[in-house]
Amino acid sequence: MTTIFGIPAALLFGQLLLGLINGAFYATLSLGLAVIFGMMNIANFAHGALYMMGAVGAWFLLDAFGVGYWTSLFLCPLLVGIVGILLERLILRRVSHLDHLYGMLLTFGLALIIQGLFRFAFGSSGLPYAIPEALSGGTNLGFMFLPHYRGWVILVALVICFATWYAIEKTRLGAYLRAATENPALVQAFGINVPAMIMFTYGAGAALAAFAGVLAAPILQVSPTMGADLLIVIFAVVVIGGLGSIKGAIVAGFSAGILEGLTKAFYPEASTTVVFVLMALVLLIWPAGLFGSKTQSASTSVVLPALANETSLMRWALFAAMALSLAVAPVFVYPAFLMKAMTYALFACAFNLMAGYGRLVSFGHAMFIGTAGYVTAYVIKGWGFPPELAILAGTASASLLGLVAGWLSTRSSGVYFAMISLALAQMIYFVALQAPFTGGEDGIQSVPRGVLFGLFDLSDPAVLYVFVLLVFLGGFLFIAALVRSPFGQILKAIREHEPRARSLGFSTEHYKLAVFVISATLSGLAGSMKVLVTQIASLTDVHWLMSGEVILMTFLGGVGTLYGPVVGAFVVVAMQNYLAALGAWVSVIHGAIFVVCILAFRRGIVGELISYVSARQARSVAAGTRADAPDVVARRLKAGA
C-alpha cells in the first residue's frame, strides 16, 4: 500500500475529501454570514439555527408529506428565506439604529428560541435522511473512491460561492448593496429603498444557510442542535477571511476544511482546534483577517444610566442594604442557591466592567470562569492544595489567559472583538474536552473544600457561606471603586471617543488590555469560588452557552450599572433552579427574555429603575419653585430624559 509521510494514501485522500466537503459547508455558511455582516454589521448568531432549519425542514417535509430531496433543495431555502425576511422586518429592524452589538445579541436570543422550539418538536437525537437515488453510489478514481453525493456537494458549493461573489462584486445590484453598506442615507437619497434591500439581504443569507442545511442532511447528522456548534467554527472562518469579505469567506472556508481534514490524517487530537489556532495565527499577522478592510462604521453609543445626584451616603447605604440582606438571606432561602448566585453575580460584575464601562462585549468570557475552575479543582484534587492557594492558582491562571486572549482580541472592537473572543473561548473548550487532566465529559468531580488558612473548615456550610459572601462583597467593592477611580474615568473616556483619548496621550490599547485582564481575573476568582461551592469543574463552565448566560445576566440586570449584573445573576440563577423541570423550554425562555429585554427595556432592570428615579427627581425639582436656578432644572430634565 502506498503511504505519504507515513500515512496510507487512501486514508489521506479520504480525509482530504472529508475536509473538502466540510470546507464546502464552511464556505457556503460563512458566505451568508459575510453577506449579512457586510450589509447590516451584525454577526448573525441565528445562522446556525437557520442552517438547522434547512436540514430538519427537509427531513420533516419527507417524513410528513413525502416531499423528496430535489424539491426540498428549493422549497426549504425559500421557506427559511421568508422566515429570515420576517425576522428582519419584525425584530432586527427595531434595533438597526442602535449599536450593532444589540442586533448581534438579538440574533443570539432568536437562535436560542428557534433551537429550543425545534428540540421540543423533534427531540435531540439524530434524524435519518437518505441520499437521493440519482446520486447514490460512487466512482473509483484509481487513487480513491469518490461517492457521488460528496462530489455533488463540493461542486454545487463551488457554483453557489462563485455566483454569490459575482452577484455582489460584479452586478449593479451588488454595487447598490456595497454602496448602501458604506452610506445607507446617501443610497436612500438616490431613490433606492435601503430598508427593503437590507430585508431581502437577510432573507437571502437565511436561504443560503438553509440550502447548506438541505445539502448536509444526507451526510451529516440531522438534529436540532446541529447548527449550534458548527456556528462557532463558522465564526472563526469568517474572522480568518476578514469580516464581511465574500472572497475571504470562500477562501477561508475551503482552506479551513482542508486543513482540518489534513490534521485528522496526521494528528487527529488537534483536528477540532486547528481552525481556532489558525485564526489566532492569522490575527497575529493580519488583525483584520486575510481579506478584511476593517472599516468599522461609527456606532451610536448608549449613554450609561446614572443617578442625577447620587451622594456617597446613598452609595454606602445601598451597599449596606445589599450586604445585610445577603447576610440574613440564608434564613429564608436555600444557601446553596444563594452561594451559586453570588459567584455568578461576581462573574457578571466582572463581565460588566468590560462590557459596560469598557464597551468590549466579549462572547467568550466562559473561558475565564471555566479555566480557573479546572485549575482550582485540579490543584486541590491532584496536588492537595489548601483552598486559599487553589483559589490563587485558579485566579492567576485566568489572569494569564486574560493577558494572552486580551492581547489578541483588544486590538479589535465591537463585533470583531466579540467574535474573536468567542473563537478563543471555543479553543479553550476543546482543550478542556481533550486534555488529560480535565476529566473530559465527566469533569473533575467531588472536589474537597478543605480548610481555609488552616483555620476555617469550609465543609461547614455556615463558614462556607460567610466566605463566599465576603469574597463577593470584596469583589463588588473593588469594582465599584475602580469605576470611580482615575483609571475608571479614562476607561469611560475611551468608551466615549477613542481617537480623542489617544490624542490626549492615553495609550488606549494598554487601558483596554488592563481592563480585560482585571475582568478575566475577577471572572477567574468567581470560577474558583464556584468550584468550592459546587465541588465540580465541568465542561458546561467553558461552553459558549455560559458566555451567553453572563451576557444575559448583565443585559437583563442593566449593563453599565453597578447593581444590574447582581440582579441579573440572581434572576437567571433562580430561573435555572426553578424552571429546570421544563427541559428544552429553558433555552426558549432564556432566548425570549433576551429578545424582550433588548427590544423593550434595553437599559435592563436596574438601568430602567435608575432612569425612572432620575426622571422623577427632575420632575419634582421642576415642580418646585426654584426660580433662581432654571439651568439646574433644565439640566436635570435632560439628564433624566
Binding site: 453609543s301 449613554v303 450609561l304 473593588f478 471603586a481 475602580l482 470611580r484 477611580s485 482615575p486 483609571f487 474615568q489 479614562i490 469611560k492 473616556a493 468608551r495 466615549e496 471617543h497 481617537p499 480623542r500 483619548a501 489617544r502 490624542s503 490626549l504 496621550g505 492615553f506 495609550s507 488606549t508 482585571i518 439651568d631 439640566r635 435632560k638 439628564a639
Partner: protein
C-alpha cells in the same frame, strides 16, 4: 528651529496618493495655517504628523528626533496635541470630567485603580482655573452632550490647552461655528498660542489672515507654495487653484 517636520512624506491608499512627497516644517512659536481646496490632503497631512496615519514614504521629526515609528498616544505625550474636525469631546462625561481627564494624563494618577481623582487638590485647582478661563464655571457639572455645538468646540479647545501642549494642531477649529463664536474662539486660540506653536487647517480666510503668520497652500496632495498671507494670496497659481482652473 523647526518643532515638527515632515520630510518627503507620502501616503497612498490603493495606489492613490492623498499626500505626495511633501516637505513641511513648523517653526517654533509661530501660528501656521495649512489651506487648500477640499481634498487637497490637509487633514491627511495632519493625521500623518500626529501619526493617526502611518506614512507609506518619508519621515516625521519632532525637534530633530525621528518619530516616524511612534503611535498617536506617544506623540501626544511628547506634547504634540491635536483636535478633530468634528468636535471631539467625551459626551457622557461632565465638562469638569472632560478637563480633569486631560489633567490626569499629566499627573501620576492615571493608573490609580481605586480612590477618586477629586482627592487630588492640585488637579481640582487647575481644573477650576481652566473652567473659569473658558467661562465654564456655571456649566461644570453639565454632561458635555448637553452643550451647544459652539460650546463643545470651546470645551475641546479647553481640554487641549489643559494638556499644556508644546505644539497645538487644530483641524478646522471654526467649522460649524456661528459668527460670534468664531471671534471668541479666535481670541482663545491667540491666547493659547502664547509661548506655543500652533498649526491649523482652516477654510475661513478671514480667520487665517487674522491668526496665521505663515501659510502653506496644498493642492492635490502636494505643497503648492508657502509664505505670509499677503504673499500667498497674490500668487496667480494660488488664485488659479482656488478658482478651479488649476492647470
Amino acid at each position: 528651529m523647526s518643532v515638527l517636520e515632515a520630510r518627503d512624506v507620502s501616503i497612498a491608499f490603493n495606489g492613490f496618493y492623498a499626500v505626495r512627497n511633501v516637505d513641511f516644517a513648523l517653526h517654533e512659536g509661530t501660528i501656521h495655517a495649512v489651506i487648500g481646496p477640499n481634498g487637497a490632503g490637509k487633514t491627511t497631512l495632519f493625521n500623518l504628523l500626529t501619526k493617526f496615519l502611518q506614512p507609506t514614504g518619508g519621515s516625521v521629526y519632532y525637534r530633530g528626533q525621528d518619530i516616524t515609528g511612534e503611535g498617536p498616544a506617544a506623540i501626544a505625550r511628547r506634547g504634540v496635541v491635536r483636535s478633530f474636525q468634528i468636535s471631539a469631546v467625551f459626551q457622557g462625561l461632565t465638562v469638569r470630567e472632560n478637563i480633569e481627564l486631560a489633567l490626569l494624563r499629566r499627573s501620576n494618577l492615571q493608573w490609580r485603580l481605586v480612590g477618586h481623582a477629586r482627592r487630588n487638590t492640585d488637579l481640582v485647582r487647575r481644573a477650576d482655573e481652566i473652567l473659569a478661563q473658558f467661562g465654564f464655571d456655571r456649566e461644570a457639572d453639565t454632561a458635555a452632550a448637553n452643550l451647544s455645538y459652539g460650546r463643545k468646540r470651546v470645551l475641546e479647545l479647553a481640554t487641549t490647552i489643559a494638556m499644556d501642549p508644546d505644539v497645538l494642531l487644530l483641524d478646522e477649529p471654526m467649522a460649524g461655528l456661528g459668527r460670534e463664536d468664531i471671534d471668541r474662539v479666535a481670541e482663545l486660540i491667540l491666547e493659547a498660542a502664547q509661548g506655543r506653536t500652533v498649526l491649523l487647517v482652516e477654510h475661513n480666510m478671514q480667520v487665517v489672515s487674522r491668526l496665521a503668520e505663515r501659510i502653506t497652500v496644498m493642492v492635490r496632495g502636494e505643497v503648492l507654495t508657502e509664505g505670509s498671507y499677503d504673499e500667498v494670496s497674490k500668487r496667480p497659481e494660488v488664485i488659479a487653484a482656488y478658482t478651479g482652473g488649476g492647470h
